[in-house]
């Protein structure tokens, strides 16, 4: 990327550098949190699985008589819920070990579920494994990531931070004069130089990912952040939004009962036709206005193994029949009902959430997410490393105090958040499984630990604070498998032995983060033992170039 000479006036690169420093710094802590929780959110299902604890219940049944299950489900609904305007049957719900589930909406409009025995069609209540814990699980990381656990206000703050990130990315590229020459450069153990190299490497090498993730993140919430087009075309308020929704999803318009009765056609035969048309096995059947001549039977395809789907968008196939078994509507897998803009939105959403490509893409996103997190962390640390060497005086008389605040925020944002995340997992194992609303207590512990880390960072000197929090982080991460063993009797090796890759993965990742924290701790302690006792940054005369960063 070359800057054309016309733009390369004496002030341009400097002003971009100024913009990059300040847009970057003020949002770095928030963005670090968004990125770290987002990176963890890639694996929110495994984290859920680990936090719920206990081994999975019955093994999934292999042989499934789909036609019989559909018939049993239909018979049950006709017997028990004949008056409901919507019936839904899942012949083999793979979220529940291939159970036969039926759904309807109760009097309050809530979605209700029942389990049916696949051999008799009788309802039964599934037994919950005793060790299961009530928990928000990995969803806390998802929720914090996109709205800071703070509803609509949080969503807006995250959006603002994302715009700041895009500004920082572009200004950083403009400022990075030697971007091609330094593309592969990383010089370790050289203090401020190494921090800058690390910051550049983390950012430049994962640059396509960074732009994509930031832009797609905003695009997901586009309709919330830019309400004007909907208001202009469909009118204001809930009425306008409802009209927009039906335009976008014509399938959401429920057919109105005509009053004439009609028999329900053979679902098994319709399912076979659906599979031929869609090329996907049928996972769910919904019947609107069952028994009425205006009824609509919609069959939904199941995506193939996550990794095998050939398109980025996540929509599954859908085919709708009427009472005469003729096709009224069809949506092929990967398509959307409402045109190119809608498809673009779906693709951007799927790109952001790694809704394609299976485990390989998930790991690529995890590693690139860590790179982005490192980009922000190294940036924040670099800001202060530079100014410990050379006082900048940007805030006039208040500079030293401001630097102190920034140092504390750096520690709290980086190691503090790390402690909060691992503390959340510790809280999950330590809070008794029987306590009411234990999931609220886990979330409170997450925020409490973070607040304590902030207080600690304010009270201790910066380098002491880094040392102590790194040490704590290392201990909590490395001891997690032992905690699991002590509280549930399950641990890493037995998890691997029984093929539970998800739970074992969580603990292995914890060990890796812990090792990273330990190495950082040792490097910082080594540096502190080699140099004279750390001085406040008021005097700039001492050359600290051989001192490596923490």
């Amino acid at each position: 990327m070359t800057i054309r000479p016309a733009l390369q006036g004496p002030g341009f690169r400097q002003s971009m550098a100024w913009l990059h420093t300040w847009a970057g710094l003020w949002f770095s802590w928030l963005l670090f949190a968004i990125f770290l929780t987002g990176t963890l959110a890639v694996f929110h299902d495994p984290i859920n699985h680990w936090m719920k604890g206990g081994v999975s219940t019955a093994a999934a049944e292999r042989t499934i008589d789909r036609d019989r299950r559909l018939a049993l489900g239909l018979a049950y609904m006709a017997r028990e819920h004949a008056d409901r305007p919507m019936w839904e049957i899942w012949p083999a719900n793979d979220d529940e070990g291939n159970a036969l589930n039926v759904f309807w909406k109760d009097d309050q409009g809530h979605y209700t579920k029942a389990w049916l025995d696949p051999s008799t069609g009788q309802e039964y209540k599934p037994v919950k494994a005793v060790q299961m814990r009530e928990t928000l699980g990995g969803h806390l990381f998802v929720d914090f990531h996109y709205r800071l656990h703070a509803g609509l206000a949080g969503l807006w703050i995250v959006a603002a931070a994302t715009v700041a990130m895009l500004v920082a990315l572009v200004s950083g590229i403009v400022t990075h004069k030697r971007i091609f020459k330094d593309f592969f450069t990383f010089r370790p153990a050289k203090g401020q130089r190494s921090w800058l190299d690390g910051h550049n490497a983390a950012a430049v090498l994962s640059l396509p990912f960074q732009f994509m993730i930031a832009f797609s993140g905003i695009a997901i919430s586009a309709l919330t952040l830019f309400p004007a087009p909907i208001i202009a075309h469909y009118g204001p308020g809930d009425a306008g939004r409802a009209a927009f929704r039906t335009d976008r999803l014509p399938a959401s318009i429920r057919p109105v009962a005509s009053g004439k009765t009609a028999g329900i056609p053979d679902l098994g035969q319709l399912a076979r036709r659906a599979e031929v048309q869609l090329g996907q096995p049928v996972s769910a059947v919904t019947i609107d206005q069952p028994g009425d001549a205006a009824m609509r039977i919609a069959m939904y395809g199941a995506g193939e193994e996550h990794g095998a789907r050939p398109h980025i968008s996540r929509t599954t196939g859908m085919i709708a029949f009427d009472a005469d078994s003729s096709v009224t509507d069809i949506r092929r897998p990967g398509e959307v009902a409402a045109g190119a803009a809608s498809l673009t939105n779906e693709i951007l959403s799927s790109l952001h959430m790694a809704g394609f490509g299976g485990i390989v893409v998930k790991w690529i996103y995890f590693l690139c997410g860590l790179a982005g997190t490192a980009m922000m962390g190294t940036g924040a640390v670099l800001f202060m490393v530079k100014r410990r060497n050379r006082h900048g005086g940007e805030f006039g008389a208040a500079t030293a105090r401001t630097y102190r605040v920034i140092e504390a925020l750096n520690v709290a944002a980086i190691t503090g958040l790390g402690l909060a995340c691992i503390g959340y997992l510790w809280a999950n194992r330590l809070i008794p499984a029987s306590l009411a609303h234990r999931e609220l207590w886990e979330v409170r512990m997450f925020f409490a630990i973070w607040a304590i880390a902030l207080a600690h960072a304010c009270l201790r000197s910066p380098l002491r604070a880094w040392l102590e929090q790194l040490a704590a982080l290392a201990v909590f991460c490395l001891v997690l498998p032992v905690l699991n063993l002590a509280t549930t009797g399950d641990q890493l090796v037995s998890g691997l032995w029984r093929g539970d890759a998800e739970a074992a993965g969580v603990e292995l990742a914890s060990l890796m983060f812990g090792s990273g924290a330990l190495l950082s701790f040792m490097a910082l302690r080594h540096k502190l033992s080699m140099s004279p006792s750390p001085r406040k940054c008021k005097t700039a005369s001492v050359k600290r170039s051989e001192v490596s960063g923490c």
């Binding site: 020459k181 593309f183 592969f184 450069t185 990383f186 010089r187 370790p188 490497a201 090498l205 994962s206 396509p208 990912f209 050939p310 398109h311 980025i312 790109l351 394609f356 490509g357 390989v360 893409v361 690529i364 590693l367 690139c368 790179a371």
Partner: protein, 105 residues
């Protein structure tokens, strides 16, 4: 298939990195001639580009593009980390990866 892509991306990027004076000097001790620079770039960039083909073969066009970008990032990060710690090692890794990819295929 994806290992092949990673091997291609890695070898391509390793060649491109060697075409830069600093890294060539770290390896060979002398500055590269302009013919060497041109040759390395002429070989390296196409190799890194070619890494997209196994990705598309493994999945589809759209997912293949995304995977390819991921492979480039992963290969670049591996290369940078190795060069920082042991400048000679990355060059050896190229042929090792190529053999591994051939074996897997």
């Amino acid at each position: 298939m994806l290992i092949l892509s990673f091997a291609l991306a890695y070898s391509g990027l390793a060649m491109v990195s060697l075409s830069l004076q600093r890294h060539y000097r770290d390896l060979r001790g002398v500055l590269p001639s302009s013919a060497m620079v041109r040759g390395l770039r002429l070989a390296g960039y196409p190799l890194a580009m070619a890494a997209i083909l196994p990705c598309i073969a493994a999945c589809s066009l759209t997912i293949g593009i995304v995977l390819w970008l991921g492979m480039l990032t992963g290969a670049a990060v591996t290369l940078v980390a190795l060069m920082a710690w042991k400048p000679r090692l990355p060059v050896l890794l190229g042929p090792v990866l190529a053999c591994l990819a051939g074996y897997v295929l």
